[in-house]
């Protein structure tokens, strides 16, 4: 019961004091009134039908509501929870016998309580627009249902950012980064087939339900914003409504974030996500990616927006592009999950000392402090199945037959992925998250930047630039995928690509040997 939640009551008291909140209420009242009046009144004055004028006023109201709840509300949660942590108030709450669920709900709805009131101030204007504009419930009800699940998702994002960051400043940046990622970066991947990422936002339901009913003036501006047209979502051989799919995908993320927050409530020092939770997330993401891109793999249609105008992708592109997209997206998700789930050297050390004092020879395989070899093995196993299905389906669809290519070339991709995953695991477990960031900057970015400089200085030196790129660990997967390209297409370039792959393979093998030997030595020398 929210009204009996002590944490929620606390925020109602502190955040809704008239002296503090009145300015914000007034700001929302004035700006919403202005937005509706400036859209509606001139059109009516010019003799336009009141219904059409009111419909045009819906968009500004929705934008104001989005700013209040999605952006300002999320920011207040992230910074508020970090302030509670830094000030040690969170520890007080940890010690109370209030159930973890109640604590999470209290903060989730309490921290942005003023923003909910600000949202409520916009409702009379919304009611006016809906009634005068005669907007059917079949349009706005699904929109607001998805809007509120999005709000919940974004607020959970803020809560996660606040719980995992140790500094107030960082939490604000992390949450802003996550929102930018969720709202602007990940949806762009819908253009390469991963349409489910578009459904993390309200944009698809807006395009599906609202655009058809709002005025033409607003329509032009929406098209200018490049919103995805309302469409159903491919899910293997099925198609789902965008609204339903939004619910499913957002609910999944809310469950994941709730799990992270609950873990961090129990103990601040443990990794943000358990190994098992990370594997389930990875498997779910892989299946969802596969389901979305299935029509392309089976040649049923081209759901890749960037190639949509060409119809069928064409075997030459498909055999490289589809595995490359899948490999890059899933491997980078694996990086994120590994960073969150694997122990840093100190966590491992403490876990090991603890286990030995309790009389155990080694740590439980799935314990938070345990090393990541079994975890990476399962991750790789999922990748193998995933790539296997992609290549098998491409083969079944006749892509390889068209270009006379042996699908076993896909083994290069598996090798590249395995080396990359084990490299990243060893990096994290050798040096921890702090040093990881430095390694990423130096060893990942520098070779690529150097290659860009070489190419910029003399474009004829592109084979050298390509080879230099091979020194960057993130280059191995793309170079492995290009081994699956038809030889005829690559012609003289093949030798250079193979050289670059050789450099990348040698670099990654060398790095893996060094890092894993170092890790072994580190763990053998562990003081008990």
């Amino acid at each position: 019961m929210l009204h009996k939640n002590p944490i929620f009551i606390r925020f109602c008291r502190s955040e809704l004091r008239p002296k503090k909140a009145f300015f914000w209420y007034l700001l929302v009242l004035i700006s919403t009134a202005f937005a509706v009046a400036v859209t509606y009144a001139p059109q009516v004055a010019q003799g336009r039908e009141a219904m059409a004028a009111a419909r045009n006023a819906l968009l500004p109201v929705m934008i104001i509501q989005g700013i209040i709840l999605l952006f300002m509300g999320t920011g207040s949660i992230a910074s508020g929870i970090t302030r509670e942590k830094v000030d040690n108030v969170l520890n007080y709450q940890r010690l109370t016998p209030l159930p973890t669920r109640d604590k999470i709900i209290g903060y989730l709805f309490g921290l942005p309580v003023r923003h909910y009131v600000m949202f409520a101030i916009t409702l009379p204007f919304l009611a006016f627009v809906l009634i005068v504009g005669r907007i059917p419930p079949s349009a706005f009800v699904p929109y607001y249902l998805v809007f509120f699940t999005s709000t919940l998702l974004y607020h959970f994002t803020g809560l996660v950012a606040g719980m995992i960051s140790r500094k107030w400043r960082w939490s604000a940046r992390i949450s802003q980064g996550l929102i930018f990622l969720l709202y602007f970066v990940l949806p762009q991947l819908s253009h390469i087939g991963l349409v489910f990422l578009e459904f993390l936002t309200v944009r698809p339901v807006f395009a599906e339900k609202i655009i058809p009913v709002i005025g033409s003036n607003a329509n032009i501006s929406i098209q200018g914003m490049g919103f995805m047209a309302g469409q159903s979502v491919p899910l293997f051989t099925l198609t789902l409504s965008g609204t339903l799919f939004s619910f499913i995908i957002q609910a999944g993320l809310v469950v994941l974030f709730a799990g992270i927050v609950a873990r961090k409530w129990k103990a601040d020092s443990i990794p943000a996500i358990s190994k098992k939770m990370a594997l389930i997330t990875f498997a779910a993401f892989s299946i969802m990616s596969l389901a979305n891109i299935w029509p392309n793999l089976t040649r049923a249609e081209s759901a890749l927006n960037i190639f949509q105008s060409n119809g069928d992708l064409g075997a030459e592109i498909a055999v490289v592009l589809l595995p490359l997209i899948m490999a890059l997206v899933t491997t980078y998700l694996a990086f994120v999950l590994m960073t969150s789930a694997l122990p840093d050297p100190m966590q491992f050390r403490h876990g090991r000392i603890r286990a030995m004092r309790l009389g155990h020879d080694k740590l439980n395989l799935w314990e938070d402090a345990a090393g990541g070899y079994p975890f990476i093995a399962v991750l790789l196993f999922i990748q193998v199945i995933f790539f296997g299905v992609v290549i098998f389906t491409l083969n079944q669809a006749g892509y390889y037959a068209d270009i006379e290519l042996n699908p076993l070339q896909g083994l290069w991709l598996l090798l590249g992925t395995a080396l990359t995953l084990f490299y990243f695991q060893a990096l994290k477990e050798n040096f921890g998250t702090g040093m990881l960031a430095m390694f990423v900057l130096v060893s990942w970015a520098v070779p690529i930047l150097l290659a860009v400089v070489i190419f910029a200085v003399n474009q004829d030196q592109w084979p050298l630039a390509l080879a230099v790129t091979g020194f960057s660990p993130i280059a191995l997967i793309p170079f492995s995928v290009f081994q699956m390209a038809p030889v005829d297409e690559l012609q003289d370039n093949l030798i250079h690509l193979q050289r670059a792959l050789g450099v990348a393979l040698l670099t990654m093998t060398g790095l893996n040997v060094w890092l894993h030997l170092r890790l072994r030595k580190l763990r053998k020398a562990l003081p008990i």
């Binding site: 520890n91 007080y92 010690l95 016998p97 100190m346």
Partner: protein, 317 residues
């Protein structure tokens, strides 16, 4: 009867730094236990482990009959914790702050209002109940946080430097409040580096230094054992003290002069009263004329200084 707190082989590591090293300690019900030590001794780490906020590297801790690792929730329900630099929610009024935590501890209705009032009165903050917490002075903040800690009548109280920032009257009130709570059966652990305040209120003390418990037991016993371990004797001689000084130095007894009293030597002696009597006898037999021999009372601060100056022990492997 099971002790209120039973710690066995507790160790806390932060990276390569060992903050608490093999600490074993038993504290009975109704005791006020003073945890003394300089900054970095491991007091706060120990209290954080007992407060279930820090997972130790290893060690077994039982509190109020529950194992810390197996049943932290049961311990939390019986625990009151006041951290160092006690945080407070600045934009809540004093009564709202207490109301929040009373409700979080499951106290509702009229009982909640009564409990809040009672705790505010106990710490002398009833008049400030409608003041915003953010406007309180440091000492007042400490008192409000103490009131918050007492809300659910915890069986075990952990107070990390509770008196810092308090004025002398508030300190006396704190002492009275803690003795009151202890007399009702609660166990109190108070940490401080202001040693005199602990010696007045604690029934037992433990001296932590570099993560190790150097001495512990009832206050008088610890003081006495430390005095036995090392005491300073003011030796007043007739005439030039230098020959006696040399005689003592030849016997590897540490001796210094007293600038204010030219005929006085300050002798540092390891051992109890018997050793002191033997030394006096030897000095007289060596034909030195003694007209004063007085063992100086060491303050807790002196003893702490002596402990801090001791060389580190080899870390355990």
């Amino acid at each position: 009867m099971e002790p209120a707190i039973d710690i066995l082989d507790l160790r806390v590591d932060y990276g390569d730094l060992t903050a608490v090293n093999n600490l074993s300690l038993t504290i009975g019900s109704g005791e006020i236990y003073g945890l003394v030590g300089p900054n970095g001794a491991g007091k706060t780490s120990t209290l954080n482990v007992l407060a279930t906020l820090l997972v130790p590297t290893y060690g077994t801790v039982r509190m109020a009959g529950y194992d810390l690792e197996e049943d932290p929730e049961a311990i939390r329900a019986r625990l009151g914790y006041m951290p160092d630099l006690a945080p407070i929610i600045g934009n809540l009024k004093v009564w709202e702050f207490l109301d929040l935590f009373a409700a979080a501890h499951g106290i509702w209705g009229t009982e909640k209002a009564k409990t809040v009032d009672k705790c505010l009165e106990l710490v002398g903050m009833a008049e400030k109940r409608h003041v915003l917490c953010g406007t309180l002075s440091r000492g007042m903040t400490q008192r409000v946080v103490l009131a918050k800690t007492l809300l659910h009548s915890p069986g075990i109280l952990l107070l990390d430097e509770p008196a810092s920032g308090m004025d002398p009257i508030a300190r006396i009130e704190l002492k009275d409040a803690l003795q009151n709570v202890a007399s009702e059966g609660a166990t109190v652990i108070v940490s401080s580096h202001i040693l005199s305040e602990l010696s007045e209120m604690a029934t037992s003390i433990g001296i932590l230094h570099k993560g190790r418990l150097r001495e512990h037991g009832p206050v008088m016993q610890v003081l006495s054992s430390l005095k036995q371990a090392s005491s300073v004797i003011a030796l007043d001689l007739v005439g030039d003290p230098q020959p006696c000084r040399q005689w003592l130095a030849d016997r590897h007894i540490k001796v210094t002069s007293d600038e204010k009293h030219p005929s006085r030597l300050m002798v540092e002696l390891a051992g109890d009263e018997m050793h002191q009597a033997q030394l006096l006898k030897d000095i007289v037999q060596a034909d030195f004329s003694v007209h004063g021999f007085q063992a100086k009372h060491s303050s807790l601060e002196d003893l702490m200084r002596a402990i801090s100056a001791e060389p580190d022990e080899e870390p355990e492997s």
